[in-house]
Each structure stands twice: as C-alpha cells, then as structure tokens.
Amino acid sequence: MDITFAQKIRELRNKKEWSVYQLAEAINKTPGYVSKIEARGEIPSPEMIVKLAEAFGTSAEELAEIAKAEKSAELVKNVTKKYDDAVVLYRKSRKK
C-alpha cells in the first residue's frame, strides 16, 4: 500500500489549498469528522467517499480503491493476529 486514505485526503486538500474547515463545509460535515478521517485514519462510508471525490473533483474509483486496499490490509492484520493469539493459547494449554 503506497498511500493511506488519510494521506490521500490530506494531499487532495492541500492541493486545493483548503483548510480542514473548508473541506468540512464542502462535504457538509463537522471539522471533527474530517479530523477522524485525516488524523485518526478512519475510512468513511462509500457514500461519503463519493461526496469527497465530488468535492475534490477527482475520481471516486481511485479513492474507493485506496479505501478498499487499506480495509483489506487491516482485515488481514486482524485475522493474522487472532490466529497467532490462538496458537499461543493452544501451546500454553498443551504445556499445562
């Protein structure tokens, strides 16, 4: 994954020379909502991805691809962790 969704949104916003407040206004959300996407790395709903793409005048497909890749990577990470934890628990129980 080359770029995260948060980084992409920040990059597009900076290209437009918009403040967080201006982006929030453009998508009809609060600045806190934009903070959650840009600073906390939260992925918005597909409808909101379309709205963001429209606000930036960019392709919704490209944004959705980045979001999908990030979500998939997160999912793989979570599943891997769960399996690793399960193996550790199994080995512990065998030792007893």
Binding site: V20, Y21, A24, P31, G32, V34, S35, K36, E38
Partner: protein, 267 residues
C-alpha cells in the same frame, strides 16, 4: 544533550490567556451543554480544535525508547512534520501521566511552540529533524530539572486540559460552592459532593485540592488527580485566608457556606 533555541519569554498570565483561547474554540465547536454534561476529553479536543485549526497529527503507535541519559521518553514533538508522538507504553499500561503528556506535546509544544520552532528551523536545523525533536522524558516532570521550554509547555497544557473557568464551573456544580474554600491548616474538612457530605483529613492545601480533584476527575477525560489538583488549588482553595499566626480566630467551615460576606472574620 543538544542546545535548545532561546524561546521568547512569556508571563504565566500570557500563557494562561493563550490556553484560554483554545478552550473557547473547543466550547464553540462542541457546544457548552455538551461540555457541561460530558466533560473534556483529549480525543474530542484533538478532533474539534487541535487538528482542524493547527493540523497537528497525534501519533501513539511508537515506542520512543530512552533519552541520552537512559531515561524513558514519554513524548516528542516534531516541528517540521507537525506531529506529536506519545510513547505507546503509556497507553498499554494506562499510565496516569498519559493524558497530560498528550496535552503537553500537542498543545504545549505543538500549538504554543510550533510556529516558533518552525521559524527557528534555519538557525537550529538539527532540532527540526526527526532525530532531534522536543522531547519530554520522565525527568520532565521534575520541576528542578525543568527548563523554560518545558515549563511553558506544561503551563499551557495544564490550562488547556483543565481550564480554570471549567474547574470553577465543576466546583460550583458538583460541590455546590460559590466561593473558595478557606484553608485553615491541617485538620478535618467537610465536603459536600453531589449533595452527599463527607469528611476528610488533610495536612496541606495541595492534599485538599487533590481530594477535590479526585472527585472531579471524571469530567477531565482521565487527567490525573495530581495534574488537576494544581488547577483546583488556584480556583477553589483560598490559602491566603488562613491566618497561621492566629488560628483560633477562624471558625470551622463544616457546611462550606460563607460565614459572612467578609471572609476575613474578625472578632
């Protein structure tokens, strides 16, 4: 150790006033009713003001390791990148210093010092690189070892995390008080919290402030009672009203209601 840039001097009042503007912005964003019922939380402060207005990114994913003296680094601020880092261990162990460190790095260094540090980048190139950043180690909490830079950041952070106006508001709301509590030396004090009375034995004004802070803590997003106590001491306790030379003149204030309009009661 590396040389810190000579920061412009600021009075305590000046720092408090600047911190107050951050607090006002926060209340404006989330609404006064919400703050009154839910209290202040760092995450909300970050989302509502610290990021939108100052674009400071907060990162708690890194292990910051040790400083040159082998002391654990709790937090760092990277001026060029405008990123505040807080050691991930503080989150894993629910360390009581966690919330204050978050405010210290993001608001103290980020908001108060950020523009100055970026301006100084040409003069102090090493400071504004990733390797050299403004850091807070465990020693940073020791007042004797604290430099002006850290002192300013701490003062600013304390006033954003626990603004005096809000502490006063909670003092009135939770304890039903409309005036300062007069410290009358080491003794038993009666406190009415949420309409329930309790008695506490304290040996210092700070300890009394700590007891009050412990009860208010819930409204300050996990800020430690120790950090909150300093603000409570300023807002809710009158230590000047205690006549150390003539203790007998003062009456006990069990109900915590004013004995008269004049707090310096004279016979």
């Amino acid at each position: 150790m590396y040389e810190l840039p000579r920061i412009e001097p600021m009075s305590e009042q000046e720092i408090k006033d600047r911190a107050h503007t951050v607090w006002v912005e926060y209340v404006r964003e989330v609404g006064p009713e919400y703050v009154l019922s839910h209290g202040i939380s760092f995450d909300e402060m970050h989302d509502a003001v610290i990021y939108p207005k100052y674009e400071i990114i907060f990162d708690k994913s890194e292990d910051l390791g040790l400083d040159d003296d082998g002391v654990p680094i709790l937090g760092k601020f990277l001026p060029k990148e405008n990123v505040a880092l807080v050691d991930r261990k503080l989150f894993a162990t629910a360390d009581p210093r966690r919330v204050f460190t978050q405010y210290h790095e993001t608001t103290g260094h980020g908001i108060l010092h950020g523009p100055f540090l970026r301006k100084s980048a040409r003069k102090y190139p090493k400071l504004c690189s990733t390797e050299r950043s403004i850091g807070l180690s465990e020693n940073g909490f020791d007042w004797k070892q604290m430099n002006t830079f850290e002192w300013q950041a701490n003062m600013f952070a304390a006033n954003v995390a626990a603004p005096r106006t809000y502490v006063l508001c909670m003092w009135q709301k939770l304890f039903g008080m409309n005036r300062k509590l007069i410290y009358q030396g080491a003794r038993e004090y009666s406190l009415t919290f949420n309409d329930k009375s309790s008695r506490v034995n304290v040996h210092s004004p700070l300890k009394l402030a700590w007891v009050i802070a412990k009860k208010m803590q819930l409204y300050f997003g996990g800020l430690s009672a120790q950090s909150l106590a300093y603000q409570v001491l300023e807002v809710a306790i009158d230590i000047n009203g205690y006549d150390y030379g003539d203790f007998g003149r003062y009456q006990v204030v069990p109900s915590l209601t004013p004995l008269s309009n004049d707090t310096n009661i004279k016979e």
